[in-house]
């Protein structure tokens, strides 16, 4: 039972990171109809920054967070300008944007490994220290709790933003129908930029909370990106709650696979999960509308 609970909490923590990536996908997709493949690499860039700040330069946690946000949002904006804007400006035909964002992720990854090399990034001390809290008789690391809490807060904040603010409604409107949105005086390019700022912010938070949890080399950005996608597909496209549930589901599924099947084949958990979900419920657990045909 203890083993199970330990795995469960670890799964929820890692799942929170997947959930955060899925949320950033959704933010971008909701207002540009583009799926930003580079999201995982943006997060890895953030993890790398966090390593340099905390482990090499010994900056305080709060400052580190600010630096991560600055860097990730900047890269995110560069990506929007270079790889996404050309496709937002004209109606989306084909999957050119997919190729462009994949190309951008390749560039981020290569630059990161030139800066850092292929060595694993060592886990860094968490913002709340390395302490544990006892839940149901199990010691849960505070960094796990932080990851979970951050994801929930981000999701709730996004929900309020989309439902209650004019800007949030405008952002959804642009993805729904760019021309009609333009007629209502909404600038699609400004909205697209804003979406990348928000997505960058969410990704930066993901990087901040994941840095103490995982040791990973800088080339696994695509892996995280793809796992974020699986969280999204499982939870349901376009639904913020779906992202959260999908992320947690994937995280827990991986840990359970580790525990009961084999830790060597952890990655299969994601593949099996996404294939089953697509076979049984193609729109995902919480997805209500079908994904538009692209």
């Amino acid at each position: 039972m203890t083993l199970f609970l330990t795995a469960l909490f670890a799964g929820l923590a890692v799942g929170s990171v997947y959930g955060l990536i899925a949320l950033s996908y959704t933010v971008v997709f909701n207002s540009t109809a583009i799926f930003n493949v580079a999201q995982g690499d943006l997060m890895m860039a953030g993890v790398l920054v966090s390593y340099f700040c905390l482990d090499r330069w010994h900056l305080p946690q709060l400052l580190t967070l600010l630096v991560i946000i600055a860097v990730v949002v900047t890269i995110s904006l560069i990506e929007e300008r270079v790889a996404v804007r050309p496709f937002v400006a004209k109606p989306v035909v084909g999957l050119g944007w997919f190729i462009a964002t994949l190309a951008f992720s390749l560039i981020i990854e290569t630059v990161a490994s030139i800066i850092y090399g292929q060595n694993p990034v060592v886990p860094i001390p968490g913002a709340l220290g390395n302490g544990t809290v006892s839940i149901a008789g199990v010691h849960v690391a505070t960094k796990f709790i932080l990851a979970f809490a951050v994801m929930i807060v981000v999701m709730l904040a996004l929900e309020v933003f989309y439902k209650r603010t004019w800007l949030g409604t405008a952002m959804r409107g642009v993805a729904e129908d760019r021309e009609v949105a333009a007629l209502r005086g909404i600038d699609a390019l400004r909205i697209s930029r804003l979406a990348f700022v928000i997505a960058g912010l969410v990704t930066a938070l993901a990087a901040f909370v994941v840095a103490p949890i995982v040791s990973a080399d800088v080339t696994v950005g695509l892996t995280y990106g793809l796992k974020g996608f699986i969280a999204l597909a499982a939870g349901g496209f376009g639904s913020l709650r779906g992202c959260v549930i999908g992320g947690l589901l994937l995280g827990v599924a991986e840990q359970m696979f580790d525990l009961y099947v084999s830790s060597n084949y952890e990655i299969l958990a994601g593949l099996i999960l996404v294939l089953i979900v697509l076979a049984i419920r193609p729109s995902g657990l919480f997805g209500t509308r079908a994904v538009r045909q692209v």
């Binding site: 496709f87 997919f98 190309a103 560039i107 990854e109 597909a233 697509l278 076979a279 729109s283 994904v291």
Partner: protein
Amino acid sequence: MNGIATRLDLGSRGSLRWMVPVVLIILLFIVPQIGGGSAFRLGEYEEVLSFLVIAVALNIAMGYGGQYILGITAVFAVGAYAAILCAKYHPAGIGLVPMCIIGAVAGGIGGLIIGLPALRVGGFYLALVSLFAALAIPTVAQEWGFVGADTGIPLYAVSGFAPKLSGEVLYIIVVAMVLLATLFSWALVHSRVGHRFVALHSSEQLATSIGIRAYRTKLLAILISSAMAGIAGGMYVYTQQFFAPGSSSVQFAVLLLAGMTIGGMGTITGPLIGSIIILGINQFFTSFQQYNGIVFGVLLLAFAIFLPNGLMARINVLNERLGIRRAPGTGARPGTPAAVPATVVPEPTASTAVTEKPAAQLPSWPPVLGSAEESPLVVDGAKRSFGGVTAVDDVDLTIVRGQIHGLIGSNGSGKTTLLNLISRFYTLDAGQIRIGSTRLDNQPSDVVARAGVARTFQSPKLMFGSTALQNVIPAVELRIRCSGAESILRLPRGIRTNRAASAEAAEILEALGLRHVMDRQANLLPHGTRRLVEVARAIAMRPSFILLDEPAAGLSPVELELIAEVCQNLARSGVGVLLIEHNVPMVLSIADTVTCLHQGKRLFQGTPAELRADAAVASVFLGIDEPLEASS
């Protein structure tokens, strides 16, 4: 390499397209003479060559079929592992051919496992799910002792495995296999299967409107590609005698995509050229390997934005500019999706617009598709709402064979919605649509099409980069029985039906006065001509019912007259015509029955003469109290 090809192309006045493969073939054969032919070098070339087969495979699914199975390297790995495991446990007597067959079977199964669920959602889901598979398979293999874990399976160390082929002989055979794969892809693209791929890629609505089964066709594209990638796996393990998780990484999938994009997806030789450039750089210029990712990333980005159709498309554009075209009637030209940038705005010119009516009498087009009985198509109480708007509200309508039924009404009155309900692009909220006793409203749209209901679209939907003739051919092929394999492999019946379809499509285009544009890119034709091509396509199905959505919009007077004549001719041939039109005088002059919709409801139904005398119609459309006849 491409630089050479481009210059050669510019220098000649022959078809530029054909120079590229010729140069390519010569280069591939003489590479060992230039680059050194040691056993090690040959092995390296053969490695790249087996990757080229994957590029050809990916091009079929992605370039032509529009199915982004990016993680095809996963399928390649599955095929390779299957082949190498068989060779490991039965080393005696297993040669290149059995290994390729094993690879093909395993790869095909792998592709289906990924494709079956992912295709239900479509679009980039397939891309991402397959990429995840491309990531997962090497990761799993790394830990799995059965497949040699991290170190892989060294076949050369297996006693009893003695490949019969080696050295230059093997190299030449491998080159021949790449050429064979390329030839196959050409044959496929120019077969009925390839036509269906391109139609589906261009627009799923267009494809289903001519009776193409979308899901099955997508799956077929993936199956063919996967089997071919599996063959590449067999080739790889035979020539390298080794396979390890590192042989197929997810980064490799990205490299392949870069090669495809740079060379030009949806062209036969483009992916080969692009992959040779990218894989060549990656394999042989290793001193800067660290920075390769940046170079490839920037290249990929630049091409995706500025030259989305790749280098070969540039050559095709040059081809057009230099006016090098085949003489009309020499058969289909490569159906290169998006071979010409979509930004080119077609300009009506005297040479492509229809300025003269075809002199001859229109031939008869009696229905071939659909039931032999003369049952009408009945719309019974059709209702459909979008949100709070009821677009079609309890509409009854009967399309009788051999008659023209005009459907008029102002914009937003529900005409096109009704048409979309009949062809089942929308589902009914209430009511029924049937032909005789056969219900249509619970069938998918391709079944409706195959039940003999053809249609055109308000804004013409035509196939990417295809000629007018190629646009019509798939509609003919719908009703000529022939298996896809016969058509691809050019078996006797395949050749016969390919020719018959082409000839019949040409005949219909000719009847509509489109002979002179038959071999022109349909999407670049003037608006009126594109409409006529669509009408030709609908006629080519030889349907029992034809639904025309504003065929006369934007047409010249000559074309208008032609459309009216075509409608009448269809009715004479025994086809039921539904004609949606804003050109009321035209409708009234040819229609047998007219239905008038107003705000989703049926305002009037009757003969043209009754319509003219109807007070309600006059009040809604002209704001006058007396009927048209009295006021004129």
